[in-house]
């Protein structure tokens, strides 16, 4: 009597051995000379099983290691029409596909509804540690009593049936995670098609997949791959189709500070040294290409190397001047007790503020669980002030504050506006206020002016 064909999972692929009867499986499998068995890409799991079922062919499925995961929603969330529609469209498409909703339209709730509607072990993949934290907090609240595992940011709960992971960590563990989850949810799914991360989808047997994004397009055209990796776009809404939340009105105050004479002299020296080199080589730093040429030149000539070192020193001087700290101190004294967020662009300045003022800090180096706790304490008022770098990137939900102090900023205008709109809420009788502390007569001033223009 012939043995029953067995399907097993092998590090991101499937082995089908001995070959089953019939021809339903033939299109999916390839002969592997190395082991003399038929092998399939892991993401063919669902079409294979469906084809075998339709043909009435029996196979012993030892590949699937995903489990049931009944979730109970805490309730209180009534989905908006567009959220309910998105979920219905995804379910109608066989629980595979991409949902496109603008930033702030509640993509997270769509994902939570999908989790509740699909009671199987699930992996949620997010691009940043900030989002890792946010999803963790959101799931803990939405499904109390369910353990939420984390992968990335110093955590490694590989066995959790509900797991939140960063793209980078999930890609590193793709061979291990591949058969443990029935539902994959990709937040900011436009990150997935990149060369290194696409294996999260390719090495997985998960029959159910949901992608979320506000902007599915990629400049490299790989967004076309999303259909194969996750599924087709099943629902899409543009910002103007949804009622937009108005930005909170706030007051913007620029606080120019001067470098000390010594710092000023050194700063100018460094800038001059760099500029001489750039002029000689006819390099213009305004463009990405110019910057690349500068980096290349710095690796191939002593003059270029010296110019790059001068450039770095000038930047450090502009970012970390003593005077900025004095102004910061003054501003903190001006608003005692107000919920205040301090931002800087570089991690080193965050820790300098934290150490000198003894203020809790959040950076990409902060363990996710500690970040969760710190933001919780900020929300409930235990910590009135926190200092952070880049926490407010796209899509990240931060507790409300009525004062923000930006120690240094980048020129990205969109990010700037989003920051302001998201954090600041007026308190009774008082307008929200945003301070921007910038060094006078440095390149930072240009950045801030550029942003101020409409």
């Amino acid at each position: 009597m012939p043995r029953i064909s067995t399907l097993t999972y092998d590090r991101g692929t499937l082995l089908l051995h001995p070959p089953p009867k019939g021809k339903a499986w033939v299109d999916h499998a390839e002969w592997d000379d190395r082991v003399e068995k038929f092998r399939l890409p892991a993401d063919r799991y669902r079409p294979l099983i469906e084809a075998l079922k339709a043909a009435g062919t029996r196979v012993d499925d030892r590949a699937r290691a995903f489990t049931d995961l009944p979730l109970r929603f805490a309730g209180g969330h009534v989905p908006h029409a567009h959220q309910a529609e998105a979920l219905a469209a995804w379910k109608a498409a066989g629980r595979r596909g991409v949902v496109v909703l603008p930033t702030g339209a509640g993509k997270t709730l769509v994902a939570q509804l999908a989790l509740e509607a699909t009671p199987r072990s699930a992996l949620i993949v997010v691009p940043t540690l900030d989002l890792l934290h946010q999803w963790y907090a959101g799931l803990r609240t939405a499904f109390p009593g369910t353990a939420v595992g984390l992968l990335g940011g110093g955590s490694r709960d590989l066995a959790a049936p509900l797991l939140v992971a960063t793209y980078v960590s999930a890609a590193a563990e793709a061979e291990t995670l591949g058969n443990r989850y029935a539902l994959l949810i990709f937040d900011e799914v436009h990150h997935l098609p990149a060369g290194y991360t696409r294996v999260i989808a390719e090495y997985s047997i998960a029959p159910y997949r949901l992608g979320l994004t506000a902007t599915p397009e990629r400049s490299d055209g790989r967004d076309r791959d999303l259909e194969g990796l996750v599924g087709p776009t099943v629902y899409s809404r543009a910002p103007e189709e949804l009622a937009g939340g108005a930005l909170a009105p706030f007051e913007l105050v620029r606080m120019p500070v001067a470098l000390s004479d010594e710092e000023r002299r050194r700063y100018e020296e460094c800038v001059a040294r760099r500029n001489r080199f750039l002029q000689e080589r006819k390099i213009f730093l305004g463009s990405l290409e110019g910057w690349r040429r500068f980096v290349r030149a710095s690796a191939s000539s002593p003059a270029g190397r010296a110019a790059m070192l001068a450039h770095r020193e000038a930047k450090l001087l502009a970012f970390g001047t003593q005077e900025k700290f004095r102004v910061l101190e003054e501003l903190l004294a001006r608003h005692p007790g107000r919920r205040t967020l301090i931002f800087t662009d570089d991690t080193a300045t965050v820790y300098r503020v934290a150490e000198e003022f003894l203020i809790p800090a959040i950076t990409h180096q902060t363990p996710v669980k500690e970040r969760h706790e710190t933001l919780g304490y900020f929300r409930d008022g235990t910590y009135p002030v926190i200092v952070s770098s880049r926490v407010l990137n796209e899509g990240v939900d931060v507790p409300e504050a009525s004062v923000a102090i930006v120690m240094s900023g980048t020129g990205a205008r969109r990010e700037h506006i989003q920051r302001l709109g998201r954090i600041l809420r007026p308190v009774a009788g008082k307008r929200a206020v945003l301070y921007e502390i910038i060094a006078e007569g440095t390149s930072e001033e240009g950045v801030s002016k550029r942003r101020g223009r409409r």
Binding site: R34, V199, P336, F357
Partner: protein, 434 residues
């Protein structure tokens, strides 16, 4: 190993050549200086070590080489620890709770740290200074961890490690690897296959002893699309391969972006390099090397003999009066997914040869699998010497068609008994041919 940004390569004749430091006076001096710097840095925080290293790099355009050497010292020879009066996360919770009362200012810093130190001192029953609290607050950040031990290598060992790491780095973007191996001692083969398995790689072995065996090395998903996913594992395989003699390899590489290549070129003649890159853009990148590459492995070398049993057998064979020579250099017997690596090759001056494998310790499952693999290989020129430690029939192993090829032994393996089977097998092969 090195991070991608520290790799230096150039192109020659369409192939990639990784950077290599000659073991000359200049390089040894550089290595010695750097090792001295790390010695001095024991007890410092990582940030301080980094500052020392930045100063050491200076404005030298060869900073990448210095950085590469330092990277190896920092990752493979240093131990860093978190030094704090209590778990830093808990310490932060306490200090920030104290700081949360009233408007933050730098003037209160000393008072708050003093308060926190006094509290800790009461609990620990020992003196805790405010400075200890300040230093411990973020002691878990990588930059603040303290270099507690440095296991200084010899300068030559450091240079060998660096040269090896530059070669390993080439494999990061390898999507295929073909190793050509020639007749060799079984221990060397066995070690290579052990590492292939250890790093999760797969092999397809083809060829014969005359022309050499080709081992195509890749991973499970390589069957569907070429992928650099297994490049890191291939890089880790290289030091193991260096213990093997008589091989050459060829790796297919994913083309690299132009900017990266120029930034990675240390020659200082980027104009010419750019031209070359443009001209050769259509060429797929390859990397070739062989056993005579001169790189030095830091993996421990395997033993030449697998067991005392085999060593003793060799000595007894030498006393035997026969034309059949016992050779340590064997042929591989390719089987699906792997290869059988016999222990000996017994060769006659007239050109006939038979392979011998000694199975001293075995479990029934192992032996069953071995016979199944032999059957698949279709080879009939193999003699198996199996220990009578277990009764085969009782263990449920059916010798079947292999009765002629098996020699039983208890304790010592008698060379005469093996020779007898070798002659039987050789005679049958001769008849088959005639």
């Amino acid at each position: 190993m090195l991070t991608t940004d520290l790799l230096i390569t150039r192109r020659r004749n369409g192939g990639i050549v990784p950077h290599r430091l000659a073991l000359d006076v200049d390089a040894l001096e550089l290595a010695t200086e750097l090792i001295g710097l790390f010695r001095e840095a024991v007890g410092c925080r990582r940030a301080e070590l980094d500052e020392m290293l930045t100063a050491f790099e200076g404005e030298d355009i060869a900073f990448k080489i210095k950085r590469g050497l330092a990277h190896i010292l920092e990752n493979d020879f240093c131990e860093f620890e978190t030094v704090s009066p209590m778990e830093p996360g808990e310490l932060r919770r306490r200090v920030f709770a104290l700081g949360a009362v009233g408007a933050p200012s730098r003037g209160r810093r000393e008072t708050l740290l003093g308060k926190a130190a006094a509290g800790l001192a009461r609990e620990a029953g020992r003196l805790v200074t405010p400075e200890e609290v300040a230093d411990g607050l973020f002691a878990d950040l990588p930059a603040n961890q303290v270099l507690t031990a440095f296991d200084a290598p010899e300068p030559t060992a450091l240079l060998h490690r660096y040269n090896l790491a530059q070669a390993q780095g080439v494999f990061y973007r390898a999507h295929e690897l073909t190793i050509t191996a020639h007749r060799n001692t079984p221990a060397r083969y066995k070690e290579l296959f052990r590492y292939v398995k250890l790093f999760g790689l797969m092999t397809l072995i083809e060829g014969d002893a005359e022309h050499g065996f080709t081992l195509r090395v890749d991973g499970p998903a390589s069957l569907f699309t070429p992928s650099t996913r297994y490049g890191l594992a291939m890089a880790k395989l290289l030091p193991a391969l260096l213990h093997v003699t008589k091989w050459s390899l060829r790796a297919g590489l994913k083309p690299r972006k132009r900017e990266g290549e120029e930034a990675g070129d240390e020659s200082g003649r980027s104009g010419r390099v750019r031209e070359d890159a443009a001209r050769k853009e259509a060429w797929p990148d390859t990397f070739q090397m062989d056993a005579k590459c001169g790189l030095v492995s830091h993996y421990k070398a395997g033993k030449e003999f697998d067991s005392i049993l085999e060593e003793a057998f060799v000595q007894r064979w030498e006393k035997l009066e026969t034309e059949w020579r016992l050779e340590r250099e064997v042929d591989l017997v390719p089987v699906p997914g792997s290869a059988i690596i016999p222990d000996f090759r017994v060769a006659h001056p007239d050109g006939r040869s038979v392979l011998v494998e000694i199975v001293g310790f075995w479990r029934p499952e192992y032996l069953r699998k071995k016979f199944a693999l032999l059957r698949k290989s279709g080879r009939k020129d193999l003699v198996l010497a199996v220990s009578e430690r277990l009764n085969l029939d009782a263990a449920g192993v059916d010798l079947g068609e292999w009765r002629d090829e098996v020699v039983w032994f208890k304790g010592k393996l008698d060379p005469k008994a093996v020779l007898e089977r070798v002659e039987t097998v050789a005679a049958r092969l001769g008849n088959g041919a005639g």
